[in-house]
Every structure is written in structure tokens, then in C-alpha cells.
Symmetry: D2
Subunit: 355 residues, 4 copies
């Protein structure tokens, strides 16, 4: 008898939604993509060609999809604004949930998802932070755990996108939560992974500019921002996020310890080719984060599937996803207000008036 | 109706055979692994756990496997000595064939496979040279085709394995065909790809040593060898193969043209991590060729499947596989005899007496 | 007739003083080291062997040295606390001055030196910021000037020393002015060079920890610090300074423009050697800043000499040296106080009460 | 009293001659350039501006220069054809000699120089192989001596020049001795250094093409050549020399041992700058060997001076210079004839007839 497979439905078939659907359809051996939902006609057309022939039932109504016969889990790749609602509905139907980050740009809404998940501890509910599944970050984390760098004390981490002159990111800024929530949330998640998720911020400072996308200003957003989060216990993380890279995606992290340092992706590269030409020696760089992290997304599908089927622990806690968004929101607030934000040792915010 | 899948059987479940089987089972969406053959009890035990539960019928008799109902193709990963016989039997049953390299260490036997394939032009018969499916080699080839390096004139290519002190390679030398046939055949295949498969050797020189595996001498083999193949038309390829690397697998290629150069894997690396420590900055290196080429093998499975189902051309000709082994054998002869071998412009060997 | 040489005296023969003396003695063809001053007996012993035999007159009194017959210039490498006084005295004797950085850790004292220099515009008075003379920084600056990166908008720059467990830096903290003044002043100087020296800070934030040198706390100093300086006009510089590197000196700079990026020393290295060993591939890193910048110091001597003899402009303004220390001091204040500092567009500080 | 300096004369003020003259004039503190000789009017004009004002007496007659009062040594940077004669004349005048490589392209003439030097063991006579003075090669050699790579067994070394379309190298081929003598002699010298100068060749093979300089054919020379030298005792060196590089000078060496590998300049670079642009990440490469080896030439001047003044041993033997040219000539012969050359264990050549 063939081993049971995880019957999963995919909600949302936009850029990332398509990739999740394909990864569960084809690249996660123990999963079976049984259903997909999208309200969008173009996405539906794509699905008729790329999913339906392989046994995937298509839905234009999310509520119906989560009642698909035998469905055990959903992967949510819709717009951020409906992530939480869809996640909660799925849990209510007793489905495991893999949700694209962030759960929500609202902390309160995030917490509702967590609360719902707490009620159903038998369900696997994960917010997808892809770098947790990347081989290089995992190797770095293992090396840190082996003590190779002593006590990790400083993290430098950046998420830098290739400049997209189309105006997409200006429109997107209306509801993205801001660059620190949209982009640096990955770096903050890494911070919680490498420093431990019990770290408490002591103070947060951030500064930004709009160098190439002046339209961002009307949404109080920036195309380049730098932030520092100081934690109690003698640790600092500092972040750079940018949408201005000429050369491609450049997501670099350094974990600096008392006895050594680890870098991940200090030398971005598309592949192992170098071209030697009259102007020097050149290597290319991935144009997008999927070019950098494709294998991590595949691994995410595979491990989520295993966790659901075998009742194994997930590699990241749902509460971390909330904490990462929370710190991202505070960075964004510091950025927009131009004011440092401070906290006492219990994590309670110290109002400026008290300073 | 679900699209047709390629029903394939896997022959041989040794180290590479297992990987092929898993790649067709799980990582080639349009293939369906329906059968597997191995005469080996240990491999059979592995298959009962890893293949049988997923609908793969197991055989201990190759002839029976190729009569499995509905089977359309075989992937051959058995010992080199039976590759050719199994390939021919499969073709006789009208099956497509993906055969691990080499078809045979005997040129005559290789040619029998080619002759059989010529009789059945509707069949896809491919010898798996994995580097042809590697993203970096493909990118380099595309850049060459764009004219970025002018006319390719010199190729330097090496296949260097991590030193394996177990004695495995001494035993293996008894039937491997020698280092140039076993290892450099990949570099020779790349030469045919980058220079064109119509190149004609003009002279072949080779020299080798046994530095760490003295037991190789009794098989007339070497653990380090360097060879030069000069081609008519002003082109040279030179090769280094070694089983002595301390640090891991290091397969590097340079294509040097009249107006530029391409390098592939000039800086071997396990992943994107660097460790900074009191002794300097260190990156790790893959221990084995599968660590370097895993994604290429997956792509090979996927593209072989597509070629069979859609009757698309294969990315490499079967005759190239023979030519690569032929040049490898000549290098090996030059290595063992210590004599240069020369050819006239028609490819006919010039006997030493004539020199 | 031999061309005139610059007769120069060296004040201070400590670690850097010795190097300056030797560079003017041996590596600056148009300079002639005629005198050297040190009050320290050990340094004097060194000078009797290494300077006196080559025609250098030794002094234990600075005032006497600057009256040495024919002396035209001094290079000041004494303790920071006497830099300014010695520089002013030299100018009063009509001598050109090359002074180690900083002129002083006090802005007021720095300004006295500048005021004195303004009175004597025929004198060359330079504060030695060695990176201005480094080939790589110069190449990067030239590439920026060619417009290769568009408008420079973000600078990331770090000065990171190899960890010195001797306790030297704890003692040194008593009078160094703090890590931002002592270390990051180089990065700030680069900022003025790449952004233009007319930039006006808008806000300054900084955070630090003492991870390996707890003794620093009593001097209100830190062994790791991160700071952000936002400038009016849409530019940000962010700095990291550390005395905790396990692997060696790592001074890295990135200049990020609207159309490209330049990095300097993204891959620190001692030389061009890589060692391939069972643990991977390792390169070494310079242990000290002189290992990284030796050739820049030589070039500084040569160009200072040329500027004096040929009345050519110096490559950096004395006022920049003051501005760099000023920004460094503000970063240090923000670091120690834990409070952001803000400025209006005229550069006037906005008091917290006004916020 | 000032310590004695090495009074030295420079013969030849062409491209390299000028550099030697300047290095002894300005960058070798214990040397004093007292004289210079050139028969060339342009070079003489240069010398009147750049040497004479600094106390250097100019000569148009070599014989007169070596009688300059007090002269103790000569540095010979004239055309190769007169190296040997000038070296011998200098020795006859009891002068130390630093001669550009090669002593001669004729082995017999080389041996005359050695014979003359043997008669005068108190003289320092050195042929300048600059890589022996390069920090990276020295570091690699020290690491090998520490046993970090086990027994060195394979050397790969290449000397590759940037393509010069001016036709200079075609004219030069008339008397250069051929590419293996002119270029690979450096790699052969490194081989003698890393393998030991007592190694005995067992066989020599070489192949070449003329890809970009067809005019070379009339001088029996090539613009790309690959050669293998197998040594008795289980060691192989293989070389690549080229004048076709689009990107610049690329001189790379690998020393492969039984327990590790060392590479020198595996990643050629002009400096520490990387430019990130829409096409990727680019670094520049030195255009000429002096860009790569300038500091090595300076160190050569300094150490030659020290050896003369302090009667210290030179870092390389004169006989090695002959042996390197000898092996280079044999490679060139194998290249031109297309025939392998073999030797018995005593180093005696085995005639083809005997094969």
C-alpha cells in the first residue's frame, strides 16, 4: 500500500502562489496538490493549463476549496491582507497551514492567528521564512552551534532587491507595511534564529532615504533604510534594506561572535561562471530572491509536508513570525518618525516623555 | 485526463543507481518510476523500503523488468561491464534508454550500442554526461555562443576527486578503463561540446604518477595524470585528473577564446558560507561529485523524460559518448606507454614507425 | 646640481612614528629625514641604531628639533594629546606639518590648529588619513567620479581590528576619545570624500556593546559599536567598528549609488595564496591595519613631500580632519548617552527638549 | 659615520632597465645608483631628466661605466643578446651582478656565465627571477615547508599576458628563444624552487597554436602553448603560456601535494575594488606583469643589495637560472618538432631512434 500523502490546497496563484503550487505538485514527493484557489481570471487560466490536467481541482471560492474532499492542509500565497483570515478559516476546518510571510502587517491580527493556532496544537501552522530552509544559513547556524564563533554578538543582515523601475513597489507600498516589515522581516527572523527568540529589544533606531522611487514618500515609505536594534544582554543587530541594487538581489548576513564570524552570501553569484573580458572579470548575480532561494522554497514544501504527516516539530515557531513583524513595525515607526524607540528590560516601551 | 507520464524502470541500485531511481520517482514530474532491477540483496532491501511502497515493482532479473507492463524507458546505472548489453536489450524491447557513462570501456562495444540505436531512430538513447545539464556549464556555453570570448581555442579542464583512503579506487581500477576513461571522459565530453563534436585529434600526450595509491600500478593506472590533446584547426585541450584532493571535489573548466575566457567553478565551494577564524577565512568544498552536480542529475532526468514524451531532441548525441571514450582511451594509452600518439587529418593514426 | 629635497623631522618614534620616520628616510625619494625627536629612552635606543647612522640628528626636546638647521617640515607621530601643540609650534617656525590623526580628540583644540594653519596659507598642513592614499579607495573614487554608480547615496564602512587580548585597548580608552573617534574617524573621512565635505548631518544614532573587553566600561567605551549618520540631501552613512575580530583586520567600505555599487576590500586577504586542506579552502587576513595600508602610508609620505616642494595642493583639507573628528565625537556621544542627536539644516543641534 | 652603501650601475634603460634604475635609485635604501649606461638616445634623454640630477653619471659605453669610480655592482637590463657578455665583463672587474632573465637563450652561453661566476665565489651573481621575491610565492613556499600539503607532486603554472595587438611580440619572437623560454621560464624556475633544483626530467611534451598572432609562425613560435614535464621521482609540472588574454595578466600557480594544495593568484585582481553594475560584479586585472610583480622587483633590489653588502647568500642559485632556460628550450624544441623528448635517470637524452 502506498504511504499516505499530504493532500494540500493552494490559495492564491500569483507570483509566489504559483511557485508554491508547483513545488507541492512536483517537488514534494510526499505531498499531493489536490486543489487550488484563485479569484483572478488570469491566474485561473494559468491553472487550467498547469494544474488541472494533473488532477488539481480549481476553485474560485476559498471557503469551498477548504472543504475539498480529503484535504489536509493549505498553503496560503494570496495577498497579505487576507493571509490571517484564510489561515484562521483553514484551522477551523482542521487543516494544517503554511502561510507566506507575513501573517499580517498588523500585530493584533497576527496575534489572532497565533491564538487560533494555540487552540489546535495538533495542527502544524507555519509562516514561511524561506531562509530558515536555505542550506547556507543552516550550515552557518550549525557552525555557530558548534561554538566556532564563540558567543554571537553582532548581526549585520541586509535584504537588497534589484531596482525595479516599473513603479510596482510604489503601488505596493500602500499596503506592504513598509520596507522594514516587507523586506527586513527576513533579517529580523534570522536574528531571532541566531540570537535566540527570547531576546528583548532595548532600543531601536532607523533612518531612510528615497533615492530612486520618490513616489514612495506619499506612503511614508523609503527605498533605502538602515536600522539598528540593540537587545538586552549585549547584542546588536543592524539591517540594511534597499530596492535600488543595479546588479541584482544581494541578501547578505554576517554573524559576528566573540571568537569568530560567519558570513552568508558575502559574494553574491548567479552560478559558478566567470567571464574574463577586456574590462576585467565579471560574474552575474540573481535578479530576484527566487533566483537566490529557490531550493529553500522546495525544502520548505518538503519539510512542511513531513511535519504534517509525521507529526514532527516545525523548524520555526509561529510566535517568531509575529515577533519578527513586531520588530519590523517598530523599526518602520522609528524610520518614519525619525525618533529612537526604547524599551525597559521587560520589553515595555519607554515613552519619550519619560526619557 | 492527466497527461501521459513516462513509465520508466531503473536498472542497478548502487550509489548512482539509487540516485537515478529517486530522481525519476520524486523529482521528474512527468516520469513515473514503475520498476527497478537489482541482483544485489542489500540494494533490494533498500528498494523494498524506498521504492516498493511508492508503487515500484522490484525485479531481480533485468530481462523481466524490461517486460514490465507499459514500461517505456530504462535508466541504466549498473556496473559499466553490463551497460551496453542492457542498453541493447532495452532497445530491442523498444524502450528509450538513459545509460550512465560510459557505455563501455571498449570502443567496439560502444559502437555496437550506437549501431543498435541507429536502427531505431524513434528511440531516445542517451549516455548521461551530467555536466551537459549543469546550469553553469550551460550558461558558459550560451555566453560562448553569443561570441563573448571570440573563437574558443584552448580548454583546460580537470576532474579531481577527494582522496579516498579506503582502497576502493584501487579495486575499481581493475575494470574502470583507467583514470582518463573514468574521470576525464567528462572533460573530453565538454571539449566536444565547446569545440564542436567534429574536431579531429592531431596528437595526444599524457603523463601520470601514483602519489597516494601505489596499488594502482599493478593495474597500470595512476592517481594523478595530465594529458594534452591537440586538434586539427588550431585547438588544444589539456586535462588534469586526480584522486588526491585533500579538500574535496574540484572540477574546474576554462574555455579560452581569442577575445575572452570563461571559467566554471574556479572557486569551488560547498555553499555560500565563509567562516572567519584566527587562521583566516575558510569555505568548505563538496566532498563528492554528487555534491557538485546534484541539480544537474535532476535536470537530466527531467529533460530525458521530456525528450521521450515529446519526441524532442536530446541535448547530446550518442556518438559523442563514444568519441569521448575513444579519446579517453587514447590518452590512457599514451599515459601507460609513455608515448605520444599522432593522427593524420583524416583521423587515421600515424604509427610510430612512420614518424 | 641635485634637486632640493624636503628636509623633515620626525616627532615621536612609537609604533606609527617609527614607520613614518623610516618611510621618509628610505621610501620617499625627494625627502631627507634630517632629525627625529623622542622623549622615550627605548625609542631613542632604536633611533641610535636605525636613524642616527644615516645622518639623522636625534633630539629629546621637540622645541630644539624644530630649530634643526634647514628643517622644512615635521611629521608628528607622538601621543594624540600633544599633536595640536606640536603642530602649532611647527607652524610658528614656518614648517610644513604632516600630523597623525586625529589632530586632537577635542574639537576646540582641532580648531586652534586650523586657525593657525589659516594664518599661514603657504604652509602645507595635513592630517594623515591613510585611506585617502590607498590605491583601491582612489580607484573606487575615480570610478564614482566617472559616474559608474550614479549618485552615491548610502555608505557602509567598517573599521574592525583583530582582537588584542593584552589589555592594551582598555588602557588606551582612557584618552582615545572612544571607538568612533579612534576607529570610525577613518570611515567618516571616507564619507566626506565620497559624499563631499559639505554634507550636513541631520541625525545621528549609535549603539554599542562590550563583548570581550569589559574593562572598557569604566571609560564609557565599547568594543563593538554601530552608528548611523543621516545627512541632509538624502544620504546615509552607517558604520561598524570593532576590536573583536578573530581573523584579523577587516576594513570594508561600500558606496551604494542610484545606478551601481562599489566595494573596497569585501574579501579581506593577506596576499594571493589559498591553502586547500581537508577543512576547505583558507586564505589569511592581515593582522593589523599596517598590513592592509602599508603602501598607502608610503604614498602619503611621497605625496606630502611633493606638495611641500612643488607647492601642489594636498589631497585632503585640514578642515575635513576636524569635521571627521566632530562627527566621530557626536557618534560617541550618541553611543554613550543612548540618545539620538538631531540637527537643523544649518547644522545647528536641535536639543532634545525641542523634539 | 654613515653605513656603506652599494654603489651600483644600471646597464640598459629600456622598459625594465628604467624600473631597475629607479628601484636602486629610490627604493633600495642601502644602494646608491652611481652610474647608468645606455647606447640609446631616447633612453639617454630620459636619464638626463630622471637620473642625472640625482647624482647618477651617464655612460654610452658599457666598458666605461663598469670602471666608474667606486662602483661595486651592476644591474643588467639590456637586450638578452648582450646579458652574458656584460655579466662576464662586470665579473672581470670584480663587480657583483644582478642580470635580468634569461642570462642567454643559449645554454652554452649561460654556462659560460656560470663558469665565470664559479671562479669568483666572493661575487654575488644573480639572475632575476622576480617571483622568488613575491610575498605570495614566499608564503606558499613557507607553507609547503611547514608540511601543510604533504609531498608536492603536481605543479600547474601559467604565465599569460594580455593580448598586445601592436605586433611587438611577433618582432620579438625573432630572438626571444620562443614562448617557453621567454614566458614559462618563470614557471620552470618556480618548479625548481618548489620541487627542488635537483629534479631530473624524464619526458617532455608540448603543443601549441597561433590563434591571434599568425606572424609568429615564420619564427616557429606560438601564441598559446601547453607543455608537460615529467620528472623522475613521481613529479609532474605542466605549463600554459599565452599572449592572448583579453582581461590582463594572469599568472597562476598551483602546487598540489599528497595532503593539500596551494594556489597563488587563482583570482587575479588589480586591487581590492569590485564594481556592482547591471551586468554583474566586476573586478579589474593588472594589464602587465609589472602591475602584478612591482613589489617583488623592489624586494629583489633590496635583497640583492643586502646580499652584496653583508655577504649573505642569494635566495636563488645561478645554476637554477641555467637549468630553467635548459628545460624551457627543451619544451620549445618539443613544441616546434611536435615530438616528445625523453631522458634516462642520469638526465641523458634518449634519442628517438632508441625508443
Amino acid at each position: 500500500m502506498a504511504p499516505q500523502k499530504l493532500k494540500i490546497g493552494a490559495a492564491g496563484l500569483g507570483r509566489m502562489g504559483k511557485r508554491h503550487a508547483i513545488n507541492f505538485l512536483n517537488r514534494s514527493p510526499r505531498a499531493e496538490l489536490v486543489a487550488a484557489f484563485t479569484p483572478d481570471p488570469d491566474e485561473l487560466s494559468w491553472a487550467k493549463i498547469n494544474l488541472e490536467p494533473y488532477g488539481v481541482t480549481l476553485y474560485q471560492d476559498y471557503d469551498k476549496m477548504i472543504q475539498h474532499p480529503g484535504i489536509m492542509a493549505v498553503v496560503i500565497g494570496t495577498a497579505t491582507s487576507v493571509h490571517a483570515e484564510e489561515a484562521i478559516k483553514a484551522m477551523e476546518k482542521n487543516l494544517h497551514v503554511l502561510c507566506e510571510k507575513p501573517l499580517s502587517t498588523s500585530i493584533d491580527v497576527c496575534k489572532e492567528v497565533v491564538a487560533e493556532a494555540r487552540k489546535r496544537p495538533h495542527l502544524k501552522v507555519m509562516c514561511g521564512f524561506s531562509r530558515r530552509f536555505d542550506e547556507s544559513y543552516r550550515d552557518a547556524h550549525a557552525k555557530m552551534d558548534q561554538g566556532l564563533i564563540g558567543r554571537p554578538s553582532i548581526i549585520r543582515s541586509q535584504t537588497c532587491d534589484k531596482h525595479d523601475p516599473s513603479g510596482f513597489f510604489v503601488a505596493y507600498a500602500a499596503w506592504s507595511g513598509g520596507v522594514f516589515v516587507d523586506m527586513s522581516v527576513h533579517d529580523i527572523d534570522l536574528t531571532l534564529w541566531f540570537f535566540g527568540d527570547d531576546v528583548t529589544p532595548k532600543s531601536i533606531s532607523a533612518h531612510g532615504i528615497t533615492a530612486v522611487q520618490p513616489g514612495l514618500k506619499k506612503y511614508n515609505d523609503f527605498d533605502n533604510a538602515v536600522g539598528i536594534v540593540e537587545f538586552y544582554g549585549g547584542r546588536i543587530a543592524y539591517y540594511y534594506c534597499s530596492r535600488m541594487m543595479a546588479h541584482g538581489q544581494e541578501d547578505t548576513t554576517e554573524i559576528i561572535g566573540t571568537e569568530g564570524k560567519l558570513s552568508i552570501n558575502a559574494n553574491p553569484q548567479q552560478n559558478l561562471v566567470n567571464l574574463y573580458h577586456p574590462g576585467g572579470i565579471t560574474r552575474e548575480v540573481p535578479a530576484h530572491y527566487y533566483g537566490r532561494f529557490e531550493q529553500a522554497f522546495v525544502r520548505e514544501s518538503i519539510e512542511f509536508t513531513e511535519a504534517c504527516l509525521d507529526d514532527k516539530p516545525l523548524p520555526l515557531k509561529l510566535t517568531n513570525a509575529v515577533k519578527a513583524v513586531e520588530i519590523g513595525s517598530l523599526l518602520q515607526e522609528a524610520l518614519v518618525s525619525g525618533r529612537q524607540i526604547r524599551f525597559d528590560e521587560t520589553g515595555k516601551r519607554i515613552e519619550t516623555a519619560q526619557l
